[in-house]
Amino acid sequence: MDPLILTAVMFISMLALMATGLPIAFSLGGVGVMAGLLLWGPSSLELLYFSAMEVMRNWVLIAVPLFIFMGYVLHESDIAKDLFDAVLLWAGGVKGALGMGTVAICAVIAAMVGISGAATLSMGVIALPAMLNRNYDKHIAVGLIQAGGALGFLIPPSMMMIMYGFLSGVSVGQLFAGGVLPGLMLAGMYIAYIGVRCQIQPHMGPALPVAERGTFNQKIAAIRVLLLPALLIFFVMGCIFSGITSPTEAAGVGAVGALICAALRRKLTWDLIKKATLPTLELSGFTAWIIIGAVVFSKVYTGLGATAMIKSYMVGLDVNPWFILIVMQLSFFFFGMFMDDIAILFMCMPIYIPIITGLGFDPVWFAILYIVNMQMAFLTPPYGVNLFYMKAVVPKDVTMGDIYMSVIPFVILQLVGLILLMLFPQIILWLPTMLFR
């Protein structure tokens, strides 16, 4: 069959199945097995078993449940609340300080938790009421929490990067390193924007009343709460970046480290163990099966010769490689409007990665561009995950319309960030090059 027709048939039937609400994992796997049976024959069925086995004995993927678990333990031990209390004390007379501090906390949470949304939920519960009570404009307060919360997949550890590493064969350590500077850059851009905006329009984020400002001693005492999470983050990332351990081993160390943190904070209870282990299992099961579905799908697709044909077709096209890259970014943005980010990863990457490397682009760079792009998808309707998280926690007088409005300046900042990262690949590649090459 002509590879272009095959591509169309497989993708359209998969999208049609997804539209019926069939879980994405089974839409991918179902189309894979049908295409295999009809176009390849019963011998393709062996491939399903080997796809499952590939996941079952994969050393890289072990890091996924471990990092998820580490994140849940830290989340359940209320570190976010302590961090915000510290921000309150340190805010002083600076306009917009609570907002800037909240973005910084989101970055810290992103460095502890490998999934997106965790920071949006906890900051939505903790920081949002605190900001609104102190007369922050609801648009800036709601917007900054969503933008900050979206940093989760960009700042390592990141589930998304581990799965990209699994698909592309790029080392997870390099991907983690690639996310550090872009993550800090975006967080810095949000903070600068909030600071400048509140300086010009003080009603957006007024300074704290004098009575609420922390004293010097309180400030020093508040720093102590930062100590444990900071140690853990530096230890885990240090293990990976210095090459002492593999990301998987670092994840195991991080998981145990998180338990020790919880114990030191006297939060290590049976209840916490339950609240951390059960959701970890649920998320792991989802990840495992979507990976198996995607591996089956792409193995059949590749086995029928489509990947190679599409690749040589795209690489042989007489257009500027940048054109193809930008079309890919637009396709991410388009799919992101109605589809889950992990689904997009497993759907597009098996086809895109060979093309990208064939065109001479760096796969680490491409991964980070994808993740920054997905952050915009989190914040843009109709399927913006963070918008839903936000809606679940905002007070009643903040409408869905307010939430949509609130993200506009931040989406513009993300777009500027994405363009900067495309124009200056060094921002992404400097750290991985220095550490690993």
């Binding site: 069925l45 996924v64 471990l66 081993e249 195991g252 998981a255 145990v256 099961g285 399927y383």
Partner: protein
């Protein structure tokens, strides 16, 4: 009939819940094994020959076994752009219609993994590493995990079919 069906479906649910409770604890064992390996290597300079392999085996059981629990919790993410706007009954009808495809997908893996698993048990397969642990029981956890998942799927299918046909929930 209806009561019997409902009883069976709830039994399957509780089976998934129990599989989840047991598997959930494995994450602690897995972290423990990995940390032991790292500590043994760097602090005592005596890396184990079994650390990596044991962690991988636990992981395999953990992550594939999670399927039934995830299904029970509704954690297999779907694209809900349209799904959310449908009535419960419409969803049940459509889910019942797409289920055979899921059953085919899982059924094939179940069949193939049973064939390979039984063969592994027959020859008492051991791993080809220095440590060389038995792997036949581990290979049998894959068909077991998928069996649990198919059961949970059938339970949901029964619920959906009942709602679709009679208009009443089971």
């Amino acid at each position: 009939m209806r009561r019997k069906l409902s009883l069976v479906v709830r039994k399957i649910d509780s089976l998934s819940v129990w599989s989840g409770r047991i598997l959930a604890g494995l994450i602690l064992v897995m972290s423990g094994v990995i940390v032991y390996e790292v500590v043994a290597r760097y602090l005592f300079n005596s890396p184990t020959i079994w650390g990596l392999e044991l962690a991988t085996m636990i992981f395999g059981t953990y992550i594939l076994g999670a399927g039934a629990w995830t299904w029970y919790r509704g954690g297999h993410v779907r694209m809900d752009v349209f799904y959310n706007h449908w009535s419960k009954r419409t969803r049940a009808v459509i889910d019942a219609f797409t289920f055979p495809l899921v059953l085919l997908f899982l059924g094939v893996i179940f069949w193939k993994s049973s064939v390979y698993g039984i063969e592994a048990v027959r020859v008492m397969e051991h791993s080809h590493t220095v440590w060389g642990p038995p792997v036949y029981h581990w290979k049998m956890t894959l068909p077991l995990a998928i069996f649990l998942m198919m059961l949970q799927g059938l339970a949901d299918f029964t619920r959906n079919a009942t709602l679709a046909i009679t208009g009443k929930e089971l």
